[in-house]
């Protein structure tokens, strides 16, 4: 059993997905004039002699933010479909070709970029790169396969309702950034997925594969000269063109507001609180990372100590920073029983308020530095982890030596700077929250809470980005109305687990 649930892979993925900058309108694309091919993308190599395995990661700039308005989900659908037929191979042949190499290719999408990935034994690397080159440069987008992917993505939208933690994290991004491109759903909506056509796919693909927009990463039992030769041979035929460069954007962030997504049968509440803050390449970014290590990074952080260790209110309590060139999101979360949810939210808000008022101690700063530097070193143990760090820095637009100079830069942060950054950047009056849980158990308590969130309610099938531009303050708003879902109209019917009885 895990005992520490603070750090959630899904949370990170989705938070990363929500933190980026707005869609840019690229002027006069050079690829429109059929650019010359034969260009080799940027190559990142991380070498380790053992085991005899290579991790291939292809980072393509412009993830979900490359989706035109109304075509949300295009990037996710496009790259998924590309893996289902390319270079003259149909779905079955391409899958069988990867299969024969022991390779299971995958694709990951966030707001800023897409990563195609494959782990392959050293002896099969060249063949694997050949297949990936076809996927990247010659996808067939066979209509039946596009339809199949669309169908699966529509099902995924439904399945998201089964995972409350993912639902809360997805909702916070859409709610925090509503009205901006960042608030649009990376996986699309039913309407936007249906609107994707072969023509929109073709236009999108041409922009995606511009050589400057692609970064090839190889990690494992390979040296750079060999990697360069292989990539030049197998992946050296990209068209010229610029990288996707999203401009900064910022959502309206005045006042505290909270979105309650009703899941009538749930015993626990999934809570995420978030703030907009400075981007990863801002001078205050590293000080913020240190503050986060005190607030909710490691197990002994303030949040986890107070919410889990001292009170037992949640399996875990965490905070994390997810950055992008334009801005970043500072999020914290926990999952208390419905009975403890409002006290836990109030306590979390109080911890943040106290942090802003009093800052951190010199001893806490020393601890945070030691923790981050140590974790950074341990995190580079394997080739694929180091490659992931280096590609992440690339995606965020950080300096080429970001990974190498991290320790030195962390060590250089002084106490005075930390205290200033806490005061300036921890704008707790603008905290935005999403809670997934039983509205029946939570709404009145939330409306009366001292935390002072303006409350909005939404049924699980609703769209967080389409709620009102501002929540209504508890004293101003009318009696809340929960929108029922078809399956749960009968409060006494339906199914699910036994509800946890309130305890004295």
């Amino acid at each position: 059993m895990k005992r520490n649930a603070r750090v959630r892979p899904w949370a990170v993925a989705l938070l990363l997905a929500l933190v980026a900058t707005s869609l840019t309108v690229v002027a006069a694309p050079s690829w429109a004039a059929k650019p010359k091919r034969g260009n080799v993308p940027n190559l990142v190599v991380v070498s380790r002699p053992w085991p005899k395995l290579i991790s291939v990661r292809v980072l393509i700039g412009g993830g979900a933010l490359a989706d035109p308005p109304g075509l949300e989900g295009l990037t996710a659908l496009g790259w998924s479909a590309a893996l289902r037929g390319a270079g003259g191979r149909n779905r079955q042949d391409l899958a069988a070709a990867f299969d024969a190499l022991g390779v299971q290719p995958g694709v990951g999408i966030d707001k800023l970029g897409t990563t195609l990935q494959a782990d392959v034994a050293v002896e099969n690397l060249e063949k694997c790169l050949e297949l990936l080159a076809d996927v990247l440069l010659q996808p067939t987008f066979e209509p039946a396969q596009v339809e199949a992917v669309r169908d699966e993505m529509l099902a995924d939208i439904e399945h998201l309702q089964d995972d409350d933690a993912s639902l809360a994290t997805d909702a916070i991004g859409r709610y925090l950034y509503r009205g901006t491109p960042l608030g649009r759903p990376s996986g699309g909506t039913k309407a936007s997925l249906q609107a994707i056509t072969p023509a929109s796919l073709a236009t999108w693909h041409t922009k995606q594969i511009a050589a400057s927009n692609v970064h090839i990463g190889l990690a494992g039992a390979i040296e750079r000269p060999q990697a360069e030769a292989l990539v030049r041979k197998m992946l050296g035929d990209f068209p010229a063109g610029p990288a996707f460069k999203p401009p900064a954007s910022k959502a309206d962030d005045s006042g505290r507001r909270l979105l309650l997504l009703d899941k009538p049968r749930r015993a626990q509440a999934q809570v995420v609180l978030a703030l907009q803050t400075v981007p990863a390449n801002h001078r205050d970014a590293l000080p913020l990372l240190l503050v986060n290590a005190v607030l909710g990074g490691p197990f002994t952080s303030r949040l986890n100590r107070e919410i889990r260790e001292l009170r037992g209110w949640s399996y875990g309590a965490w905070s994390t920073l997810a950055g992008a060139p334009g801005l970043s999101t500072w999020a914290l979360g926990f999952a208390p029983n419905a009975r403890d949810a409002v006290p836990a939210i109030e306590l979390a808000v109080q911890i943040v308020e106290e942090l802003r008022r009093d800052g951190i101690s010199p001893a806490e700063l020393r601890f945070a530095k030691d923790y981050l530097i140590g974790a950074h070193r341990l995190g580079l143990e394997t080739a694929d982890r180091e490659l992931a760090e280096r590609l992440r820095a690339t995606e965020l637009g950080l300096a080429d030596d970001d990974v190498d100079t991290f320790e030195k830069r962390i060590e250089a942060v002084d106490y005075k700077t930390i205290q200033r950054v806490v005061r300036e950047r921890l704008q707790h009056d603008n905290l935005v929250a999403t809670v997934v849980g039983s509205a029946k158990a939570l709404r009145d308590k939330l409306a009366a809470s001292a935390a002072g969130f303006a409350l909005e309610l939404l049924d699980p099938g609703g769209l967080p980005e389409q709620t009102a531009q501002k929540g209504l303050a508890p004293a101003q708003r009318p009696a809340p109305t929960v929108l029922p879902t078809p399956a749960t109209q009968d409060d006494d019917g339906g199914a699910g687990m036994e509800e946890e009885p309130d305890e004295p």
Binding site: M1, K2, R3, N4, V7, A11, V12, L15, L16, W50, P51, R91, A95, A96, D99, A100, L101, Q104, D119, V120, E152, A155, Q161, D162, A165, Q268, Q270, A280, L289, F299, R305, R311, G312, W313, S314, Y315, T320, A322, G323, A335, P336, N337, F367, D370, Y371, L372, G374, A375, H376, R377, A383, R392, D402, A487, G493, G494, A495, G496, M497, E498
Partner: protein, 504 residues
């Protein structure tokens, strides 16, 4: 760790093992290492190290055996009090993983006290006679490390990944809590509340976890593997502090414990430090564990109503433990069935009939048995009965007209090897493999033998294993569907015969 803390933190999060799919996949893929070094060489290396220790005056450490494993083999040692040490050095590694494995899990619990092993695992992170609560974690976090743990039916494990300079610190901390854990009423009750929150969040509110739990319950009934590792809600509510104290005193003895060390360390120094810190633990007899294989017939079919967007179908067969001659063939069979997009079940269930959104299969290892599991997440609107009607004929086809082909087998073998190399890339992954082997009572050579069997396996052998074990009297089918709108059923499991299942 760089700007997005996700990268370093993600791998430290555990899904609790009763979630099945995660652990069983790992167990299969963890099962061995290519024979890169003759056994005699590593044995000789261990014997020479024993001489060196004697010359240095280190006493109470006995060399037992060695085997090829990872980059430089693995040696097994024993202290005078019975505690064993498994050392797998890798001079190139910048980190060291230290795992403490205890031969106790939920299968050792008695009726009415389910969840005890897991609760004790949580309590192990509280205070000791000389260390207040929180100091254990803080001492590690100062070096960037974090501690976590897991409980399974057959074992409990604790793990840390640290810089090479801090191995002795881990030994000091681990030895302290093995001998001097302070199980005060406050500490146990506080952690019990955390566990109850964990259960509600990770099981009761998670349709997939409920399905896994109900499937295992139906497959193993009242036998040791039939109750959930995390415990039932009713049992958790009734656990007493004295239960935990008694369990700790009886089970956490040196004879029942192994310390696994992998990564960049000096074996002689580690043995010296181990003798210093663990050598003082008092020798006590370990309770005898049952060696009786699971024998009860599984419940053949059950149904469950889940509060989910769509239904699930789960099918399992009672099979064999890792040391059994059929185990490698069953692992290959699971890959053939649902290991890739080319696999039989994926093609039929996801692509052709579109009744499922996803499907997986795996062969889970237990000390006294095994379970070959198939899980399908259905498309909205599809019923589990519909899915079953499509899935079972695929299996019948494999057992009849269309046996496993050489192409399918080769692809399955290649995928297993790639996944295996991925796991062995990190010190933590290697320690996992070794720890599970030891905790399941297997000798170190099982890895070599298992992979030799995988390399040599023929389609006929896989086919024979399928015919032998995919029998209807060993099979359990669990149909999980969302409620119909007028249903008043809640969280019930309806076995078609035999004992009742449970849904938590």
């Amino acid at each position: 760790m760089t700007w997005a803390p996700a990268a370093a933190g993600c791998g430290q999060r555990y899904r609790w093992p009763a979630a099945g799919l995660f652990v069983c996949a790992a167990l299969i893929r963890a099962a061995g290492a290519p024979a890169e070094e003759p056994t005699m060489a590593v044995v000789q290396q261990g014997q020479e190290r024993a001489k060196l220790l004697k010359e240095r005056g280190v006493t109470g450490v006995e060399f037992l055996d060695a085997s090829p494993f990872g980059p430089a083999g693995v040696e097994r040692w024993r202290l005078a009090n019975g505690l064993q040490l498994l050392l797998a050095p890798d001079p190139m590694s910048p980190v060291v993983a230290v795992h403490t494995w205890v031969k106790v899990g939920s299968a050792d619990e008695v009726a009415g006290k389910t969840g005890l092993a897991h609760l004790l695992e949580h309590a192990m992170f509280k205070s000791t006679a000389t260390r207040p609560a929180g100091t254990f974690d803080r001492a590690l976090e100062q070096h960037g490390a974090s501690a976590n743990a897991a409980t399974w039916f057959d074992w409990t494990m604790y793990h840390e990944v640290v810089p090479p300079s801090q191995v002795a610190l881990v030994f000091e901390l681990e030895a302290d809590r093995l001998a001097h854990l302070d199980l005060s009423a406050h500490a146990v009750r506080s952690e019990l509340e955390v566990v109850r929150n964990e259960r509600r969040e990770e099981v009761d509110d998670d349709p997939d976890a409920l399905v896994v739990e109900a499937l295992w319950s139906a497959a193993f009934g009242k036998e040791a593997y039939g109750h959930p590792v995390i415990g039932t809600s009713a049992d958790l509510a009734g656990l007493q502090v004295g239960d935990v104290v008694d369990f700790y005193r009886a089970r956490y003895v040196p004879e029942n414990t192994a310390v696994v060390v992998t990564g960049g360390f000096d074996p002689a120094q580690v043995l010296t430090d181990a003798a210093k810190w663990y050598g003082g633990l008092a020798a006590r007899p370990a309770p005898k564990r049952s060696d009786k294989p699971a024998s009860e017939k599984p419940t053949n079919s059950s149904s469950l109503v889940v509060d989910a967007s769509s239904g699930r179908l789960a099918v399992a067969w009672r099979t064999v433990p890792m040391a059994h001659a059929d185990h490698p063939a069953l692992a290959l069979l699971a890959e053939v069935l649902a290991g890739s997009d080319s696999s039989r079940l994926y093609r039929q269930m996801v692509e052709q009939s579109r009744v499922a959104s996803s499907i997986s299969a795996s062969q889970t290892d237990l000390r006294l048995g095994g379970l070959l599991e198939i899980y399908a997440t259905l498309r909205p609107g599809k019923t589990a009965a519909e899915a079953e009607a499509l899935l079972l004929p695929v299996l019948a086809d494999l057992l009849g007209a269309n046996p496993v082909s050489q192409t399918e087998l080769d692809a399955a073998r290649n995928r297993l090897k790639t996944q295996h190399l991925r796991e062995l890339a990190s010190a933590d992954g290697r320690a996992d493999v070794l720890g599970r082997t030891w905790a399941n009572g297997l000798d170190l050579g099982v890895h070599q033998r298992w992979w030799q069997a995988i390399d040599k396996a023929t389609p006929a052998e896989v086919q024979n294993a399928a015919s032998k074990w995919l029998k209807s009297d060993l099979r359990t089918v669990l149909r999980a569907d969302p409620p119909v709108r007028t249903s008043r059923a809640r969280g019930r499991t309806t076995p078609s015969r035999g004992h009742a299942g449970r849904a938590g």
